[in-house]
Symmetry: C3
């Protein structure tokens, strides 16, 4: 549980709030690169940390991310014309380049123009991993570019999607780094079903309730959920949490190929989150077209409208929960592993009241994540650099295995390249 004050501190992200200031020290996913498929194409609305912005790809291919509203009379640049290396407001023809400079002023005679005095808020962007990332913080603190394992593999080997979640970002993070719910919420009741989820014979399900072992690192933490299987063996599944909102977990393709997967929970505003979902192949085998449909997770184009990024199974239709299926096939009666997560996390309300929780030992990873986020806020307020800024996370992965009780799970968590500070 958290005090109401700490709950507000962790969840509020608008400019000027402590967490808003902290998040603005990181590179933040702004949109998918494929939403801006061509130079001089249609501009796109982006709402990020409570700010209304417009993204566009200019004639040279560079992505601009500007305040939505023209500084002249505050017309929306969503209506803008993307032409000749700039975005032009259609109201009076003022035009801005990707750096926010005003480069034309159609409505004023040349001798009366005052272009040099006009700037629009613009944020630096970079594209990698199929994502356009933005930096919304102070120029002098701009960190190294994002560089995750998944952003560096060839495009043939990685897929990334996004979907809107109608809740605060922290509810997403806390679901993503919580191993204890996974074989419960996502459980299947029978092996005789094609629905997504963990079948009864999966050691993840067969294992008893887990104990957690957690190493705090310079990027956040890694941890394992350790489930006793029998006298000799345990099931171990590891996760990485990289501040402020990155999760890495082991996964598997539809065809059974081992993958590494993860999410980023990016605040749209206090009450809405854009969830980014990525998966990449750790072998030579590229992803297949089927993999890119993300049927199992319910995040792909079959499940999420690719214009609005709203899930077809959503709060308004109770996620198409089928009570008969819940009786006989799956624990929830809802199809799609991440649809199940969204149902639960949206069902808590926009910002859950953490002062009314009752946490136990299985919630230690959540408790630790909150501590690290509160620490990050404090470090930023003192002028320092919080965890997850320095790219010590670049080779992280996660894994899952059945192993002898006496084996060391840490050997399995793939090259960390980072400092372990403390084992909790």
């Amino acid at each position: 549980m958290l005090s109401r004050e700490d709950n507000a501190l962790l969840t509020q992200v608008e400019r000027g709030t402590p967490m808003g200031t902290t998040l603005r020290r990181y590179w933040i996913p702004a949109l998918l690169a494929r939403e801006l498929p061509e130079p001089d194409g249609a501009p796109v609305r982006v709402r990020l940390l409570g700010e209304d912005l417009i993204a566009f790809r200019d004639t040279r291919g560079q992505v601009g991310l500007l305040d939505e509203f023209c500084p002249h009379r505050r017309a929306s640049l969503f209506f803008g014309r993307n032409e000749e290396c700039g975005l032009r407001c259609v109201y009076h023809g003022w035009k801005y380049d990707v750096d926010g400079r005003c480069v034309d002023m159609m409505n004023e005679p040349p001798d009366l123009q005052f272009k040099d005095k006009i700037f629009i808020t613009s944020y630096p962007t970079v594209e990698c991993g199929g994502v356009v990332w933005a930096y919304m913080g102070p120029a002098e603190r701009k960190p190294a570019l994002p560089s995750f394992a998944w952003t560096r593999v060839p495009a043939t080997h990685v897929t990334v999607s996004k979907v809107i979640q109608e809740s605060n970002w922290l509810q997403g993070v806390e679901g993503g780094i919580d191993t204890s719910h996974a074989p419960i919420l996502h459980r299947l009741l029978t092996s005789n079903t094609t629905r997504p989820g963990f079948k009864p014979d999966n050691p993840f399900v067969r294992g008893k309730a887990p104990t957690l072992a957690l190493d705090v690192t310079d990027y956040g933490y890694r941890y394992a959920g350790i489930r006793p299987l029998d006298e000799a063996n345990i099931h171990v599944r590891t996760y990485q949490f990289i501040l402020p909102f990155h999760q890495i977990r082991p996964s598997r393709s539809e065809g059974g190929v081992p993958l590494v997967a993860g999410h980023m929970w990016v605040p749209i505003d206090d009450d809405n989150t854009m969830v980014y979902n990525w998966e990449y192949s750790t072998t030579d085998a590229p992803l297949t077209a089927e993999d890119r449909l993300e049927r199992r997770l319910g995040n792909g184009p079959l499940d999420v409208d690719q214009t609005t990024f709203r899930s077809k199974r959503n709060r308004q239709n109770n996620y198409l929960l089928d009570r008969q299926v819940q009786k006989t096939e799956s624990f929830t009666g809802i199809d799609g592993i991440n649809v199940q997560d969204r149902a639960i996390q949206e069902g808590m309300g926009p910002i859950v009241d953490r002062s009314r929780e009752h946490l136990g030992p299985a919630d230690r990873a959540i408790i630790q994540a909150r501590r690290l986020l509160l620490e990050a806020v404090r470090v930023v307020s003192e002028g320092g650099t919080p965890r997850g800024i320095e790219p010590t996370y670049t080779t992280l992965a996660a894994a899952e295995a059945v192993m002898p009780r006496e084996a060391d799970w840490r050997e399995m968590t793939l090259a960390a390249g980072s400092q372990i500070e403390q084992t909790v």
Copy 2:
């Protein structure tokens, strides 16, 4: 008219408000028994006095009514699994019985569980008259079970339905105990119509504007609207008001059989009300399938969606008001007697500003009801027991008749079994 302060006092029902505390001393209808048709069936969302709750019928058939949110991490129990005498949260598998005890904790190893320390808010329930009633007040003040004439007749002889009204509950009560509007709002303009309402030759319509005679009783009041018909005769129609929100009135089946009918206006929250509608046969004749359609009132399955309990004629479509019908057939041009009531009461806005009313002698029953409700709030605040708690109302009914001017209407109001305190 009321002061703004008294208007707020009477209309606000959330926990901790004076009226909220008062209402929580009574048994409150929570949902229809038929919404929980079978043991271990689907749980149902219930919003009552501003509280979000989940109802479920357990393996033994008992109805539980729990806080919607799991005390662990506040996931919604709407998604819960109803199994083996309890409702299990699908997020981490915590499970609660109808009394709110935590009986399982799937995510924690046995030696780390702390079930005994976890309780979820639960309210006692009882089923009678086809309704599940809840008691949301202090345990030591739990009153005798609800026992109305209509809850004690055989199921063959009674029908009960419900419909959402988009206004505060008091607007419903004040419409229900107001005889003066009935032969005006619900009037037909011609006898040559099949639309529901009171025809011109009905003595209720033929009679002149009424005078009101009212007896305050230990349960609330009974009163009569007395309408002069001619030199010799009057039309009398009686009503019972039982605190806090029960009305009893005379009625008649589609086939002309005399019935007794009534409403309960149960606050969903300050701005929304669940209106319960019941009718029972006072003779040996059971109700027919046609009676159960409630065509005349517009409350049955033909008129109200039986999943959402929203009326098909509603504010968004102006209740399908037909101005031509209003010119030639009915006073309002709206079909359904209680649809007409809802149109008027919702049209006042969520909470009508009673400081801007202009009441007259015909409004005496309304004025008296407010006085009794204000008295109940005061009595409760002083630790006492308000009217309508003790079951002195169990044999009440209401009737309608043409009678000689000199006859006593009180003889007609069927066994009161209660104390008359004052005649107003």
Copy 3:
């Protein structure tokens, strides 16, 4: 730019606000006369300056405009019966005439009625130019009836329409009196299109960015946008601004006949505006059926639902913006000149933050309009009579022409009949 305080002062219109008090000194368009086509027809909801009202045409043809809510118990008179020279509340049958007098009280016996003590708020109305105008101010300050050139031509020569705009009224006014945006926002990219807008060969488009010349008058101002065409010629287009919200501009029928046109931006409330659009023929030629469709502007029955007065192209569907059309045919990719205006003005948000603007010389007409509106508020607060009340505007028109550089545009602005105070 404006201070936040002045922005609030100019935009807030509810009763009791300084601008609300100022606007209530003028005749205000309440609805189209054709919305009340016949005596004793259906009453119509009208929201005006934040007040909920009901309009009805009584048996004699006179238009009443009453508070929506019956003074008795505050039922909505939208449900009312319009009969025998009055509007009758269907709840208890109280009836009001167009002057707000209570003339019947069905629910009370004759000896208990108190009709003489009951009044409902009613506003005087007058019909002219196809519009019902209301006066909502103090009786002793009621001004002369509205009398514009367009309200005095035969009905065959004038058309008037209305459409809801989801923004504050001032955003509409400021767009309407701003010549500098017109040949930019409404520009066509090619002459080879049938879409509405200004083609590249139009001198309005060929001309360079304008300088503005403005004469403050006793009704508001007239001004010209002057655009250099070549060494010898200029293009001049004049506008009239009549306080508080009238615009007059030159126009042209679909068939090329010169017209005079204009708008009125009437506050529904702070966040919504009813835009009235009128056009009249200045020659002997009447308007055609085609003219009344207002295809070019996008305000007619093909484009606006004539029951709800919502535009079919609206914020929810991005005004059906077509990015391919925006690339090749029109500056915005949106069809309909006034749809383009609404897109821009609604896109600014309900009330634009004028403290964050950057205005230039091309915005002088806007700056001047704000000054005059602030002056009007001050004059009214001091008990005086603001500009635009006295009918000095009755013969105003506007015009457009290519003329020699040395010609005087003021000769072109048609009979002013008013006093020029100052040339800005």
